[in-house]
């Protein structure tokens, strides 16, 4: 598990419109590029040597699988915001306002009333 690294991916990608576009259009290629170019950057010069995704984390990110990310303990605010950024406009045009947000909730109904996975890294 590397929740921190998953959260770093969500945070850095959501905050840049060009990166978000690439993650929407070709997630697998974008994640490969992100790991090489952004994932290990600590500052514009310094890097971190040891951060990496597990196979399950990489798959969940490639598949935009926000249910799996919730269950891994990715931070709920980062996960919601990035997938709204990717899907909201398309869903709203086809199915109306908040349709994506409500589908997101519907897919997590098996967690209602239970203790959610911890977001502590």
């Amino acid at each position: 598990m590397s929740k921190y690294y998953v959260d770093k991916f969500l945070y850095t990608t959501d905050g840049d419109p060009e990166l978000l576009r690439r993650y929407k259009e070709d997630p697998a290629a974008y994640i490969d590029w992100w790991e090489k170019m952004i994932g290990h950057q600590l500052t514009s010069v310094e890097t971190t040597s040891w951060l990496e995704f597990t196979d399950e984390e990489r798959t969940a990110l490639i598949e935009h699988d926000y249910v799996a990310l919730f269950e891994m303990g990715a931070h709920f605010f980062l996960s919601l915001t990035i997938f709204i950024g990717i899907y909201n406009d398309d869903y709203e045009a086809e199915k109306g306002p908040l349709s994506f947000q409500r589908e997101f909730a519907a897919k997590l109904q098996h967690w209602r009333g239970k203790t959610y996975p911890s977001v502590v890294c």
Binding site: D7, L78, Q101, F104
Partner: protein, 287 residues
Amino acid sequence: MATLTAVLATTHHPFYLKLTHLDPPEKRIPQAAEWVRKVEAYRETLTAARPDVLVMIGADHFHQFFLDNYPQFLIGKAPKYDATFYNEIREFSLPTYTLDGHEELSQFMLEGLIDRGFDMSMSNELKIDHSIICPIITTRPDADLPIVPIYTNIFVPPLPTPKRFWDLGRAIREIIDDFPSDLRVAAVGSGHLSLELGGPRQFEEHGPDPEFDRRAIGWLADGDIEGLLENVTRENLGTSGNATHGFLDLVTMFGIAGPEKAAYVDELDLFHTREAYITWYPNGAVL
């Protein structure tokens, strides 16, 4: 000495501007007109206090600060603050701003908080997010006053305890009261009642825990800090909705006001969340 003329504790609903002003009328929610009336009435509670400077409490929603270095409590002490991040514009259609800072009060506040046991982080280059811009839009839309921004951690567990949020407010109050100036200071902070984000209870017809909301408004309205601290822990807030910890910023505002009944209390039930608009007038009849 400075005079604290009003303390406002408000929920921040980032879609307010979009749903009540920017969207065409046929797309607005049924409560739009009532929502505008309530916000404009609430705005009057700040206008009537004739503030010269605003001490503003909020929380960075992973915009400038991230998990590599996330402060528990932070104060800005810059001459200017840009505001509104790209993904907030994208999602909420929020405008950008450049607000003036009040460097002298920021520095006095920073030193005063450290003297009182709050080892604050501080920033000389702080960009403000919607936790402060939403109350600017609702309570001071001209954005014409200098601010002292203070951020708290309501997102990254373990959070400070509810008592600590209250004590922070009490310390801020002492420091404002001690500030050697003729300024009229108002404190404006935003947070949430029960709220779910990125979980199974999000975006429903009402907030996730209406009973918590009713009790929370009651603690603030009645000045009941004992009841609040007996019933609210950082652990049980999550059972009312995974983002309900935003209530803790309202606890800090309550701390600035002190254990007094609020002078103004209003609320509005909306999809996804309940709004609360609360104002205290410390120091008696200063209006």
